[in-house]
Symmetry: C2
Subunit: 262 residues, 2 copies
């Protein structure tokens, strides 16, 4: 199946490399910033195209791997062609956004965090797939199964919930690593000091349900420590608010009586 | 050095096992709930004592490993005795809380998350130590170095900042894993689906500064997706507030212009 990739970001980059590794000819790359398309195309041995209208007639699968808020606009520029499969890769975007392609369209949503700087074993990335028809789903399943051992169907609503849960488990988590990094930096302390703790926190979640291994001042409803911490964050009022709010949510979960009226 | 442990929680349990593994005789265990002291004492081959006043004359080191808000009360019950070293294990509690022991006191603060259900290589746990005198610090350093390869001095203020950064990097992170777990549970989806993502998010922080590998809708300032996610969380208003606040903090960091007046 001859493939064109629209997008040159983290998902487009990792996905196109996985496709090629699995033996699929990724022929064309387009990006909003043409130089990015040129770079990715060079890296994977494809051609870069300056305009979406330049998608070759011979392309059988077009994969849209752009920001969620750009999908509609990008999709509107893809020429409609019979027997061409159009796929987007977004968690929160419904399959219906592609319905103008009437014929064959669907979704491959990789539930993983990609950074260009980080290598990744794509075969372990959970892929959630959806197709507009059983036949589309079948084709998409064939492509996805070449890339990963963890493929399963999910409708648009399920996929959106997976995405929002991933924002908490990954994006917000990484932001909290960043806040911790900044707290240490301001005191000239190395982020290395926290790495064993971060690793162990994730390790525990590999073996346990996280709700069963919560620790910390809020879990113990230790108001003295929580108040001291909020004082320590005085030069970052926004983090004080965040600290208070998350702690309150933890207290509410593990000490439902005490949390009332606070 | 004959040791008594006051406390029977996660830190007391892991620390006393590490002490014994390193060849130190942990002789006595006390806990607010005597049955917990009995259980831990049985596990490590020590004696449980029902009252702090029962600490034997021969004990040379007393380690206070109780909740931060209980340290003062526990310390007040320890008989003052010359040449006995008193140590607490708290991040946010200043060394001064032990000053009534005039003679020798200090802190061993393990920067790690402990759960009774999770085994852990204590030799890799960063230990931050403080002593009231150079001689106390030296003794504490000797004990700590038997337990871990990663021992370094830190004053009470530095330790408190390490602790608050750890609350973000570990406790709040685990709570976000828990929110994700609950979002999936409500849809009968397995937490297994998120485990590769959690692992990779932590892996990336082992090799990069987290501020350089942030991903997600807020990082892209993708308001469409953020608004959809907030809608999806409608049955959990508290999580909507949390989602909004953290996203706002991410947008502010990576898109300082756009975040103004929002």
């Amino acid at each position: 199946m001859k493939i064109a990739i629209l997008g040159s970001g983290n998902v487009a980059s990792h996905l196109s490399k996985a496709l090629i590794k699995a033996g699929n000819p990724v022929m064309q790359v387009w990006s909003r910033h043409h130089e990015n398309a040129v770079n990715l195309a060079l890296e994977i041995g494809a051609n870069s195209i300056p305009d979406i209208k330049d998608i070759s007639e011979s392309i059988e699968v077009v994969i849209i791997a752009v920001s969620d808020n750009a999908i509609e606009n990008v999709a509107s520029q893809i020429p409609v062609k019979e027997n061409r499969l159009i796929i987007h890769t977004s968690g929160t975007t419904a399959i219906a956004i592609l319905q103008k392609f009437g014929n064959q369209y669907g979704v491959i949503y990789p539930l993983q965090t990609f950074s260009k700087s980080a290598d990744l074993d794509f075969s372990q990335v959970p892929l959630f797939i959806e197709g507009n028809t059983a036949s589309s789903l079948d084709k998409i399943s064939n492509i996805a199964s070449q890339l990963s051992a963890k493929v399963q169907p999910a409708d648009s609503q399920t996929r959106a919930l997976l995405h929002v849960s991933a924002v908490f488990a990954c994006n917000f988590t990484n932001h909290f690593y960043t806040i911790a990094q900044q707290i240490l930096q301001e005191k000239n302390l190395s982020f290395d000091l926290l790495r064993p703790l971060i690793q162990e926190t994730a390790n525990k979640a590999m073996l346990n349900l996280p709700s069963t291994v919560q620790t910390g001042p809020a879990k113990r409803n230790d108001e003295l420590t929580m108040n001291k911490h909020i004082d320590l964050l005085s030069s970052h009022p926004q983090w004080q608010v965040i600290y208070h709010l998350i702690s309150q949510d933890i207290v509410k979960k593990y000490h439902p009586q005490q949390a009332e009226d606070k």
